[in-house]
């Protein structure tokens, strides 16, 4: 004769059945599925969602000190920062003139994770500026192409079109948000 007393496992199963319903389980399961699907739509930073790996420059870029080569706008600057020479990010130092031509790069802003077009316009007409601060002399190369694609190379002096080819320093003016 089988024992008529309920076993421990039977007791537990019955207790669960009394305290829950199929509807509540379906509700929780549904909420979990919808929540998981909606999560990627939340407006969180997309820096980590870049489709390409970050460059060395982008990994180390900062947004506080514009007089340093690792300032985010300087991802493709090749020369001396005009801000170290009495000018600014979009102004030439006294005695030099902005070239009518420029080199345009695209830099990632670490604060919002978005790419911005930056115009590196050389200031010309004076001999090269020589600040003592080492971090004012930059050779960044992001998105640069070899010299045989000169329109995409920043090694050349972008003073052509000016009255003088004498290079003094480079600015880094922000044009806008890139597509």
């Amino acid at each position: 004769m089988a024992d008529q007393k309920p076993t421990l496992s039977e007791k537990m199963t019955r207790a669960i059945a009394r305290n829950s319903s199929r509807r509540s389980i379906l509700n929780r399961l549904g909420a979990t599925l919808v929540g998981a699907a909606a999560f990627p739509l939340l407006p969180v930073s997309r820096v980590s969602a870049q489709t390409r790996p970050l460059t060395d420059f982008e990994r180390n870029a900062q947004s506080k000190d514009p007089l340093s080569c690792d300032y985010w706008r300087h991802c493709a600057i090749d020369g001396v920062i005009c801000g170290c020479c009495g000018g600014g990010p979009h102004t030439c130092p006294p005695g030099s003139q902005p070239s009518p031509t420029a080199w345009i790069g695209t830099c990632l802003n670490p604060d919002d994770g978005r790419a911005y077009l930056i115009s590196y316009r050389d200031c010309c007409g004076r001999s090269i500026c020589a600040p003592t601060k080492e971090t004012c002399h930059c050779t960044a190369t992001d998105r640069e192409l070899p010299i045989y694609r000169p329109q995409s190379n920043n090694d050349i002096i972008w003073c052509f079109g000016d009255t003088s080819m004498a290079y003094h320093c480079s600015t880094a003016a922000l044009i806008g948000l890139a597509s």
């Binding site: 102004t91 031509t101 695209t106 922000l174 044009i175 890139a178 597509s179």
Partner: protein, 157 residues
């Protein structure tokens, strides 16, 4: 003299951006992206040709209110895409078509003939397969533009 050059030099780049300073401002609103065609024009062409389509006039052809005249003829229309720097640009056909349309129809402004159709990715794809091989591009440009200007006149432009 130096004061004028130091203070007066605020580059035209900022005019295009409008809300350009926002990128550095922690609390500022994010500006709208520049449309794809304009963005790629600026990055690949705007350094020399200028952010607004004009720069060193004596050395680099002016685009603003000028370049639209080329599309008065099929030859001129093709010439613009077959230029080596255009045909070999690091862009896919779709993006290059948008950059061309920004350059010709936006920067070209008043020089664009009425009824001119935009470049399609298919048209750009076919044209860039035939890059120009002329060694004297300046002379070729002069001939192509001469015929385009004559056609523009005939069309009442």
């Amino acid at each position: 003299m130096w004061r004028a050059s130091a203070i007066g030099v605020v580059f035209g780049a900022l005019a295009l951006a409008g809300a350009s300073g926002a990128a550095d401002a922690a609390s500022g609103s994010t500006p709208s992206p520049i449309p794809l065609g304009a963005s790629r024009y600026l990055e690949s062409c705007g350094g020399c040709h200028g952010i607004t389509g004009t720069s060193a006039k004596s050395e680099i052809p002016v685009l603003r209110d000028q370049v639209g005249r080329f599309v008065c003829t099929d030859e001129g229309r093709a010439y613009l895409v077959r230029l080596p720097n255009v045909a070999f640009a690091a862009m896919d056909d779709h993006t290059l078509a948008q950059a061309m349309n920004y350059m010709v129809f936006s920067l070209g402004g008043s020089s664009v003939p009425k009824g001119a159709r935009p470049y399609s990715p298919q048209e750009v794809a076919a044209l860039r397969q035939r890059p120009l091989k002329a060694t004297d591009l300046a002379s070729m440009r002069s001939s192509v533009l001469g015929r385009a200007l004559a056609a523009c006149q005939e069309q009442g432009r």
